[in-house]
């Protein structure tokens, strides 16, 4: 087959790159979607960091609130630009029959998927850079060179995990209208018990244990650990990385399951 020759693979990679460009173009043109996926985390950052910026967290030996909150909102931003963004748009594309149409074209499925994932990664990266710049300039929150490795591990693993979960969950969403409700139900309560907005130090331990099972906590905690000025070492918390890796595997399995669902049959 032409697709398996080296030049065929190169061409398909180029097609995936082109697809990412078209997906990006479509993403930024849809203002409502760009707002929810991209601007909302930025908006929350500005609001929360401005309100609580002068406070410190006594349960964490006087950690400035913003050193805690910036990585937390970054975690939320990653979830918005990957999980929410991909799940909602994929459900819409499925319901409108775009996925079925794509299936009938010579574009390999993996190249289409790669293009969409790459596009979401670009959006996530842009959101991350913007959050870091605003945090640094506006709220004097610094990312340290020593824990940079830990920061990237949490960011990349978390993005991959929520991208896979975002595609995989579409298999459980009956129609696109229900998507925002299902996704919020899955994520919003977790953000509250996972220390995205405020610390969980005063929460009952059973609630914390529940939160620790899920990737929202692992991503938020992983980023917060890397940002915390008192963290020593490379900034990776093993338990967080492990949790994200396990959920990444779950996400990939669900993603494969969703992609095998036939689009033609009723």
């Amino acid at each position: 087959m032409s697709g398996s020759s080296p030049s065929g693979v190169r061409r398909d990679i180029a097609l995936a790159a082109w697809q990412a460009i078209y997906e990006q173009r479509a993403f930024w043109r849809n203002r409502a979607r760009a707002f929810f996926a991209f601007l909302m985390p930025i908006m929350f950052l500005v609001i929360f960091a401005s309100i609580f910026g002068n406070q410190t967290i006594s349960t964490r030996s006087g950690l400035p609130y913003n050193d805690f909150f910036v990585p937390g909102i970054l975690a939320y931003g990653v979830i918005a630009t990957t999980f929410f963004n991909i799940a909602v748009s994929t459900a819409i594309l499925r319901d409108k029959g775009v996925l079925k149409r794509m299936q009938g074209t010579p574009l390999p499925h993996w190249a289409y998927l790669a293009g969409r994932v790459a596009s979401a990664a670009v959006t996530t990266l842009a959101m991350t850079v913007l959050v870091l710049v605003i945090a640094r300039i506006g709220y004097n929150v610094h990312l340290r060179g020593a824990t940079l490795a830990g920061f990237f591990v949490a960011l990349v693993l978390g993005s991959a995990c929520f991208t896979a979960l975002g595609i995989g969950i579409v298999g459980f969403i009956r129609n696109a209208d229900a998507a925002p409700a299902v996704l919020n139900f899955a994520i919003l309560p977790l953000t509250f018990i996972s220390g995205v907005w405020f610390t969980t130090d005063n929460q009952p331990s059973w609630l914390r244990h529940i939160a620790e099972v899920f990737p929202v906590h692992a991503l938020a905690d992983g980023l917060q650990y890397a940002f915390n000025p008192s963290t020593t070492g490379s900034g990776i918390r093993g338990s967080d990385a492990l949790t994200l890796a396990i959920w990444l595997a779950v996400g990939v399995a669900l993603m494969v399951r969703f992609m095998r669902q036939p689009l033609g049959e009723d």
Binding site: L15, R25, A26, R101, P106
Partner: protein, 323 residues
């Protein structure tokens, strides 16, 4: 080699057999039309040929390949217009044609395509802002973007106004002129009549008639019908003797069914001129494709559709689901 070869095709959904042993061939360059009420198995058959559904039994070859294998080569050479399939609404017509064009190794020029479907003025318009008819034309352009040898058109003019339909027909005929094979499904008799070289009528999962539209169901050999109004002063007995299978009069409306339409017409009109009798609304007709179709599919097309609507795998059910 045939463009499409189907033999003994079957598709079961649980207990229901939606396609029950269908066989036909489509020659290269032919316009082949699948006609039938909702639930007859048209869409199931078509989607098996397109590679969207798997078959339960039988042999299928499309351009010599098995569509169930999902071969990329096949997708390079086949264009598909699905019944209700969306596009990326935030991209413009021009961008979409460019994007889908990239997927193909062989591609048609975008400008030419936009012109062919008459969307020149809409090139910079986002797909989400097109009217229904314009969307269908974009569908057609996207199906043709890889310069396919075979084009599937699933009810391509449903929802069109008469003018848009004529335009679409002209476009489809232009495709035939380029030597493309076209596999068409439709509800519309006039569409089948105008476009198709051959028509297959499906009912309850089977092909019950297959042939050129003019000959379908022995249509060409059927008696013609001569109709006219007889003035009140004239009685049926005064008419000349013509070879007729049936002669009836109902409130002054005469109906003569005859196998010798030319001779019968000549005698009746000669008699009318000679005796200065005015035969109002004089007409000679062959049974229409629609007459034959309704007869074949069980008289009442809508009832036939309803009967299988519960287990529907065809048109109407999907349209409903989309709303």
């Amino acid at each position: 080699m045939s463009a499409i070869e189907v033999s003994g095709l079957r598709k079961r959904y649980g207990d229901l057999e939606a396609v029950r042993g269908v066989s036909f061939e489509v020659a290269p360059g032919e316009v082949f039309c699948l006609l039938g009420p909702n639930g007859a198995g048209k869409t199931t058959t078509t989607e098996i040929l397109e590679g969207y559904r798997t078959r339960s039994d039988g042999e299928v070859r499309v351009l010599g390949l098995d569509p169930a294998g999902g071969a990329r080569e096949l997708r390079e050479r086949v264009g598909i217009v699905l019944q209700s399939c969306g596009v990326q609404d935030d991209l413009t017509v021009g961008e979409l044609i460019e994007m889908y064009g990239r997927y193909h190794r062989r591609r048609r020029s975008g400008g030419e395509l936009i012109e062919l479907v008459g969307l020149d003025a809409k090139s910079d318009t986002r797909a989400g802002r097109l009217s229904g008819g314009q969307r269908r034309r974009l569908d057609l352009a996207l199906a043709l973007v890889g310069d396919p040898d075979l084009v599937f058109l699933d009810e391509p003019t449903t929802g069109f106004d008469p003018q848009a339909r004529r335009h679409a027909w002209a476009t489809i005929r232009a495709l035939c002129g380029l030597g493309k094979t076209i596999f068409l499904t439709t509800h519309f008799m006039d569409e089948a009549q105008t476009l198709a070289d051959r028509v297959a009528v499906m009912r309850a999962g089977e092909i019950i008639a297959l042939g050129p539209p003019a000959e379908l169901g022995g249509r060409d050999a059927r008696p013609a019908e001569i109709r006219f109004e007889l003035p009140a002063a004239t009685s049926l007995d005064e008419l000349p003797d013509v070879p007729a299978l049936e002669r009836t009069i109902d409130r002054g409306r005469v109906l003569i069914r005859t196998a010798e339409a030319v001779a019968a017409t000549a005698r009746i009109t000669a008699w009318a001129l000679e005796h200065d009798v005015d035969l109002a609304q004089f007409s000679v007709t062959q049974p229409t494709l629609e007459d034959v179709y309704l007869e074949l599919t069980g008289g009442d097309a809508s009832a036939a559709g309803d009967a299988s609507a519960a287990a529907d795998t065809d048109g109407a059910g999907e349209v409903e689901a989309d709303r």
